[in-house]
Assembly symmetry: C2
Homo-oligomer: 326 residues x 2
């Protein structure tokens, strides 16, 4: 895993993956008490940074292998990214989703061109089902984060951040990244190490699901005690990846954990001041910038809003936190 793989991924992404802008607002600067820049990956293809990793994996794969088809397990952003990338490459994809996944997510994944195969969480073994399907059809599994080509794709976000920081005259800053398995965080950290050594990456997670923060502090992989109970479902993973953790450990500074309420308030501010739609898990880094000033060290922070695939009901709940006059 190295910077050349990220640069190669960026080359392959040209014309397919969006270069998202770098946003800011004087109103957010005032809340945070420092300069805040926002990299809105909710504006990426399929509504999250996952499209980068999926594109990277498919475009970097042996074409004959790819032509036989792609498989992924996911009910969320990775599913949509893989379905989109496979269709764009003209190859079939099969996404294994739990039968109780929300109807809209199933419909979206299918509409993006994937064959959605449902399984019963209670009675069926996802891994066994996946392995059998993959063998039968010759499908290649694309893992959500612990896969070098995927990390390289997510790292292209970091190449853009490094470029855009230079354009904005930013030499030193903390880069706050929404962190689940660590694919996006480790990819950005590698890109910044190479292209913008003044940018220090810090992972941000939901409180109670801060496996990466605790793993960094312990110097060894720690697990979350539970997998349910956070509104930030998109970034709740059991533990850091075997590939991502050593990178995070070498390059990242202390993690930050935010509450669900802070994530919702950050979504509301992103609506009001940036005009972007963030999902709860995608808003935790912005929440850290706005509501955890005592944990920040630099006068400039760059935060990634990693996705915007949120139900209207949850979004409405976030907007209700704004004062009446807004």
């Amino acid at each position: 895993m190295n910077i050349d793989m990220i640069r190669a991924s960026a080359e392959r992404a040209r014309g397919h993956i969006r270069r998202t802008p770098l946003l800011s607002s004087p109103f957010l600067d005032e809340i945070a008490g420092r300069r805040v820049f926002i990299k809105p990956e909710c504006l990426q293809m399929t509504g999250s940074f996952k499209a980068r990793g999926a594109w990277s994996a498919l475009s970097g794969m042996d074409p004959e292998q790819r032509a036989r088809g792609i498989m992924a397990y996911s009910s969320g952003n990775h599913a949509q990214g893989v379905a989109w990338a496979a269709t764009a490459h003209g190859v079939p994809s099969v996404i294994l989703m739990p039968a109780d996944a929300p109807a809209l997510k199933r419909a979206n994944t299918a509409a993006l061109g994937a064959e959605v195969v449902l399984y019963d969480r209670a009675t069926e073994d996802r891994e066994a089902l996946g392995t059998a399907l993959a063998e039968e059809r010759g499908l290649t599994l694309v893992k959500p984060y612990d896969e070098p080509l995927v990390i390289a794709g997510q790292g292209t976000t970091g190449l853009e951040i490094a470029e855009q920081a230079a354009e904005a005259g930013i030499e030193a800053a903390e880069v706050l990244v929404c962190c689940g398995g660590g694919g996006l965080t480790s990819g950005i950290a590698l890109a910044c190490e190479a292209d913008a050594p003044g940018l220090v990456v810090r992972p941000v997670e939901p409180q109670g699901f801060d496996d990466v923060k605790r793993s960094l502090e312990a110097g060894a992989i720690q697990r979350n005690n539970r997998m349910e109970g956070s509104i930030c479902d998109a970034i709740v993973t059991p533990q850091p990846g075997d590939l991502t953790f050593p990178i995070l450990s070498r390059l990242c500074k202390t993690g930050i954990a935010v509450t669900d309420e802070e994530a919702l308030m950050a979504m509301a501010q992103a609506f009001l001041r940036l005009k972007i739609v963030a999902e709860p898990g995608g808003a935790v880094a912005l929440a850290a910038a706005l509501y955890h000033p005592e944990e920040l060290e630099r006068d400039t922070v760059i935060t990634v809003v990693s996705g915007g695939n949120v139900d209207p009901a949850v979004f409405t709940r976030a907007l209700a936190l704004l004062p009446e006059a807004s």
Copy 2:
């Protein structure tokens, strides 16, 4: 008014005005039955394209004149654009706002650095008050659309559209633009005439407030019968401008008028599929693309989402139009 003024404005804007991306979604393509691209000016500084015109006017003005201060009449997006541009140039600005303007808009305009002067709509004459203030303090009035430097600034949106269309391989398309006084529409039309002659500009307005559409059809300036009663308040103006109308008349094809309901549905789709926040007046062009297929001629449309300064309550009303499963 010519293309060189727009190019000069773009030069002056470098590093200050955002180059907004060009977005798309297969889901919107499906609704529209054609390819739909979206230029999200809600992501511009201050949340609307008005920042372009304001920056253009201030940066193109004699520096001594500018230093004495700027004035504008507006309770909406132009107010915020002018306040921001003046503060960024380090010069004072005075915005005349009706005393019954929403508290948040007054607060935002003041927070962006303007001195907000309130007047009573019922008993005071805005023009007389403005003229007296301007003379007393040597302030220069920046008009919202009927001003060459402002049209040139809005036209920089068109230069970007021309470039981005070329990058996306689009040679021919209808460009649908949310239209009030015509500053944005005429600026984009001039830019496309020069840089992308295959792009045909069409103004979009709220039904019942389609003065530009009727003026184009009549070949002479027509007025709206009323100024109130549309949710798309940001683009309701009494009539096309004296400077903008000849340009619109020479370069634009037939206008399109959409209902308030269609504008709200377009806002909801922009939330769901693009992850951007559009205000009602800023969503009328997207509404035309999605819900008026019988009035479109090309298989590709580019729509401008011109602003995103919308109250949470109105936004929530738009989201309520989405099916439950969303």
